[in-house]
Amino acid sequence: MKASTADQTRRAGRALCSAVMLFFSTAFLLLALKDYAWQGFALAVAVPAMIWLGVSLLPHLFPADRLLLSLANFLCALGILLLYDTNPDLAYHQAMYYGVGLVAMLACIYAVRLLRQWRMAAALLIPFSLALLALPLLFGSEINGAKNWIYIGSVSFQPSEFVKLSLIVIVSRYMSRRRFFPWFIFAVGCLGLLMLQKDLGTALLYYAVTLLLYFASSGNWLLTLLGLSGGAGAAVLGYRMFAHVKKRVAIWLNPWADYDRAGYQIVQGLMAIASGGLFGVGLGLGSPTTIPIYHTDFIFAVICEQFGWIFGLCVLAMYVAIVWRGATTAMAARTGFHGLMCMGATLMLGLQTFVIIGGVLKLIPLTGVTMPFVSYGGSSLVSSMCLIGLIQGVASLNEEHLQEDARLAEYGGEIG
């Protein structure tokens, strides 16, 4: 019975993959016909090819969750498509990082499958991650009120995106061994460094994921609630201490009060969503570029303007499906560590998506985190792919264990 479920997901994944490839080749062709730029035609071939590589070839190497792969690849390609429409240069960049992301995902999958020395890995990751996270404070530059980027030559990256991964690995390792202090001290250290960088959106994600994983591993309601109230206290403190947090909350409460300056971005985002209506103005049309930072924070508004609110809901449903696959994989995991790691990656993706889309829709104050897979940004794209890699790694181990069980059962049946 279990094998047939796997069969079903495989077939669904394959059908989905073909539809996705068709969608993107026609979409890029459509955009290419606007100005006959060769890059458009190239992307019309290259993006579907990469999706095919990712979704069809990888499962030959090890048992993989095709549905999860298709969804992640679709979202990545959607990001490239929207960027190509609004700013082609960013799209080339993003396409390159998509390739890098696929490789990084593969690396993560193999790490999960092959690595046996997690204790040592976790111990080594702690100082390394803290050092990495401290770098922007020493050499970084401030963007939009937060100091969380570092530049090496012409390449820039955001360490917090990668430390996310080690946070999940470290926390789940120590939690599964019931060792409180190592992960606690590491998490507090990370939060402190993020606070110093004023990167409160990422700090919120780190905090929430750690707390929820703690809840899952210990089942201790009391301490979880204590942690929750501590977080609320920190939020109030942050509101009191940081001027830019106060400003963001004020904008959230009423962006129209100062729509030409402070509220401009959110107001323009809402107008873009309203302009799209249910079915959108169409790919390549509309004026999404009037939203400041449309390519990272406000990419969801661009989606809604061009493809409409219904499509926006579908995108939300894709993230829900990713969370569903991730949680299912975590529940089927054979060890506590693998389960926690898988759930951690799932929570990170789900919460990050909620935080940014909630900000764009004015449900919660806007924090400058990216929309996983879709937003422009190499660090974000690669780290999101790595998170998928962690889930995939656990999924492939689960599948192998299942096959093992099936073989043993068959053997046992013969004996019986």
Binding site: A274, L316, G358
Partner: protein, 484 residues
């Protein structure tokens, strides 16, 4: 392990519910606020579309062409100058000086944002320039002209600023809406822009005034529904003032007094002292409840109109402010549009209709996109209470402060008001009349506001005159305002 799995399930459900929240909240926002965000003058998409699309026509309910686009692609207002000026706040102008007018709030239809893909394709094949949809409004242009001219007929309203709103109390159709001073949309000069009377401002929907004694309709409802023997209550109004201590005095207009009065006589003669007492006896909670039933403190999200919210204080600072709110002073405010809806609700047996402005929308190809639908905004009170208030309001016009609004062939009910406020540090008085014709075949309700009354005049001898003329016009020209 097993417990951990259960927790994972819980966490996944948590994330799912967060996403559900996103979907619901986003959908709610797009449906309720979508058009308001979209038609904002800050939306650059509309500007871009104006280059490519010829805007549709705007017509009044009888087919009078109010706005169109000429051969050169300019937006013009082809009606005669008087009509043009009377309608300008409702229709808007090509420069977008009047905010939330039809020209700006209905951008989505006028500039073809609702045009479907096959229609766009057809226009492309024919090689036509794209055209937006034509709008037919519920308003009646000659009635707007009449309301505007009525202001100039009387010594104490001539040249005054003010507003008038007329609606069909059965259906909620807006029949007229004017704001003074007006301007000519075909000749917007620098002088108009600098006029301190702010001619671009639509007083009918955007100005919130203290409603004064017209608010006694609300107080009467609060009293009737919360005080058991409200109708038996009386005060001796021979005392000149009602003293709340500390110099907080309540007196009647012009220092007059009404002898021993019950609720009914107090309403007819607009006795402030009685209504101050009733507000205090009913209490803040009941006053707030009655005001909220009429739509005070609600966020108005009407489909066709943008109307500033009205407010009634959530908390009374003192007994004195509660007493003052009983006759529409203290910090009670409302727009002329909302006060007209209040009169209409009494006429319509306690049911308040949503004010509507769009009668139909037709695409250039002739397909109807929308036609008029009635919609109940809220049920304010029971039919019994409504008929009681109607009787009070009839007596106001038959023998009370609103006698000058009476039209002998009609059954006019109403309430006058004279409200004090300050504007730029100077005291200012507003004259009000709200009322309706109770006859089923001419179901009109109206509200008139006159700003900055002359010394010695009140709502009853300023706004009431204008109301009478408007009612009389409606009686004479029923075929123009009621569908046959």
């Amino acid at each position: 392990m097993k417990r951990q799995r259960m927790k994972f399930k819980l966490l996944a459900l948590l994330i799912f519910s967060l996403f559900l929240l996103l979907a619901l909240y986003g959908g709610y926002s797009v449906i309720t606020y979508g058009n308001r965000w979209f038609s904002s003058s800050r939306n650059p998409r509309v500007r871009a579309q104006k280059e490519n699309v010829t805007a549709g026509n705007i017509l009044d309910r009888n087919g009078v062409l109010l706005a169109t686009t000429n051969e050169e692609g300019e937006r013009i207002y082809p009606a005669d100058e008087t009509t043009r000026k009377a309608m300008v706040h409702l229709i808007g102008d090509s420069q977008g000086q009047v905010s939330n007018s039809v020209e700006s709030f209905q951008t989505s239809y006028l500039y073809g944002f609702q045009t479907s893909f096959p229609e766009q394709l057809a226009a492309l094949i024919r090689g036509d320039r794209r055209r937006g949809d034509d709008l037919t409004l519920t308003v009646c242009a000659p009635l707007c002209v009449e309301a505007q001219q009525a202001f100039d007929r009387y010594e104490h309203t001539m040249g005054k600023r003010g507003a008038c709103v007329v609606m069909n109390w059965k259906t909620g159709e807006l029949l007229a809406e004017i704001s003074l001073p007006e301007f000519d949309p075909m000749a917007i000069t620098g002088a108009v822009k600098q006029d301190e009377g702010q001619p671009f401002w639509n007083r009918a929907t955007q100005s919130v005034y203290p409603p004064g004694s017209t608010f006694k309709v609300v107080t009467a409802l609060a009293a009737l529904s919360s005080i058991e023997d409200a109708e038996e209550q009386w005060i001796d109004c021979t005392e000149a003032v009602l003293d709340f201590g500390g110099g907080q005095l309540i007196s009647d207009y012009g220092g007059e007094h009404h002898g021993v009065v019950h609720l009914r006589e107090a309403f007819i003669h607009s006795c402030n002292k009685m209504f101050a007492t009733l507000a205090v006896n009913a209490g803040q909670e009941n006053m707030l409840r009655a005001a909220a039933a009429f739509g005070f403190n609600d966020n108005f999200l009407f489909r066709d109109l943008v109307v500033e919210n009205s407010s009634f204080p959530e908390k009374a600072d003192s007994r004195y402010t509660l007493a003052a709110s009983g006759f529409g002073q203290s910090s009670v405010t409302a727009t002329p549009m909302h006060m007209c809806m209040i009169a209409a609700a009494v006429a319509n047996r306690g049911v308040m209709m949503e004010p509507r402005l769009l009668r139909s929308v037709v695409s250039p190809g002739g397909t109807g996109r929308l036609s008029y639908t009635e919609n109940i905004y809220r049920t304010v009170m029971t039919e019994t209470l409504a008929s009681k208030l109607k009787d009070y309001m009839r007596q106001v016009v038959a023998e009370g402060t609103g006698r000058r609004a009476d039209v002998s062939t009609m059954y006019i009910c109403g309430k006058t008001g004279t409200a004090d406020s300050t504007s730029k540090g100077e005291p200012i008085t507003y004259g009000w009349f709200i009322g309706f014709n109770a006859q089923e075949d001419v179901p009109v309700a109206l509200c008139v506001v006159v700003e900055d009354l002359d010394e010695g005049t009140a709502g009853g001898n300023t706004a009431a005159f204008i109301a009478r003329d408007v009612f009389a016009w409606c009686g004479r020209n029923t075929e123009l305002i009621i569908p046959q």
